[in-house]
Amino acid sequence: MEHWQISMFIMVLYLAIALIVGVLAGRGTNKASLEEFTTAGRGLGLFLTWFLMGGAIFSAFSFLGAPGWAFTRGAPAFYILAYLAFSLLPWYILGPKIGRIGRKFNLYSLVGFIQTRFQSKPLGILVGFIAFFACIQYLATQLRGMAIIFNIMTDGRIAFWFGALIAYAIVVTYVATGGLRAAAWSDVFQGALMIIVSWVIGITIVKKMHGTTSEMFSKIAASNPDFLRIGAEGSTMSATAFTSVILVSVIGFLMWPHMFARSYSSNALTIKKTVLAYPLFALLIIPLLLAGFAAVGIVEVSAVGESDQILPYLITTFLSLPGWLYGLVGAAALAAAMSSADVITHSASMEFTDGVIKNIFPNLSDKQTLLIMRSAVVVIGALAYCIAVFGGQGVVALLLGAYGSIIQFTPGVLSALYWRRVTSKGVFTGIVVGFAVNFYYQMFATSTPFEIHPGLIGLLANTVVMIGVSYVTKPNTNSVIESYVDDRKVITLTDEKNTKPDISVDTY
């Protein structure tokens, strides 16, 4: 057998195992239950949560984008490490609070969280749309990553568009049949695979190409020390750009709908222990950065095509490793992309159904809702496929674009939790303005002031508008505000009144 055949065989084998694990985990539970599909019965333990988080660290972005950035841009790639390490710290404070509120009102989505607090249908629809939009962009990064893997690991025999199509089919089957529990169990399996493979591969590449990392970095530093710095004359990124990209990613990280789902389904202790472990998880991607640096000065950028392809390129073309080894790397990278893709697809369908469909057609039965959620998965995948194949953006750029939209929820969510005076009109106009500003700078402007990330400019406009409009509009008065801002007090009250939620606005 030739190399590419062996590697394809291993990748197919992996996909089959992943599917079996997923489907088996989904069996034995009532598939038709809406509650089960959405938060896996609200009882995910610490073990599952850790692997879900670990799965979130490794994605197409860290497997392909991180080495790509290290290879073509140098020091700016450290942003990935920094953002992964610090992004979860605020969750220590916010997570348990969001979790308590979610359980009190029986929430399972970000839309539900916002809409219960602000009691505004237009706001629910808006949040649903933006979450849907951002998730599709995120999913596109993963499909793109999977397509690159299929393409390069089979020496170009699977065309890019076809690889992306296979990836799409896999993700849809997976999500539509299993729900969140399936995603969680597969991540346990995938987490182990990704960690082992990335370390073995990273160390092998550095050893084979340079001997030690000291020799490798000495060579890079000798030819261009600014490549290993930010904002110097020969650097590839300015100081403000670096800082704002980290800020956008860290602030936006907790606003992803799947982070809300995670908050609802985990207790405070689990959340805190997860935050604790996360900086160490971030260090797991170091070998992937090293692999990217290994190619600097040895491989021509033009020979690779796109920077995202450097890791598979090194393995297949440059190092001529045995076929089974690169099949294994392919499987790990697929695992990385899939674990992120299924979580994000799942939440995109949920937010869209909750925010847009349920507000426009309020009288749907549970069965109809579940059907819409599953069909939404197919549509979401198709849209992401189009962006991945025709969008022409790199993996890192796609993800940063998605963060520009998702970050616009931050002012609304934080004031829902801590600011009584905020009004629904304030949040609504804030999000609209922030999203519009971000959209303008991403799509139409050629540059931003001081090279600040568009999402951050949008966030500033968003916050100012939200505060301004809140003060000129009439304060919202309802009992929900207290149970959000001062959530602990109400919990003891509701406990005495039995476990029924005390508000009936929320019909999920």
Partner: protein
């Protein structure tokens, strides 16, 4: 230590730790040389602060008065 007080301390310490990888603080770490434990100083700086963050949050976790809550 009260829950509110702990929260304030946690927020201040996290912001300080986070600021080490952002400009202007990152200026201190923004150098290629010396190459320490096999990696450039800038890379080392980021990893060092991630490790310090891990240990600091670990200590904070043990001081947290609120973690027994179900």
């Amino acid at each position: 230590m009260g829950i509110r007080r702990f929260r304030t301390i946690y927020i201040i310490i996290s912001i300080l730790l986070f600021s080490t990888v952002l400009f202007p603080m990152f200026t201190i770490g923004n150098k290629a040389y010396p190459i320490i434990v096999g990696i450039p100083y800038s890379f080392f700086w980021v990893i060092l602060w991630i490790l310090i963050t891990f240990f600091t949050v670990l200590i904070l976790y043990f001081l947290d008065p609120d973690k027994e809550e179900a």
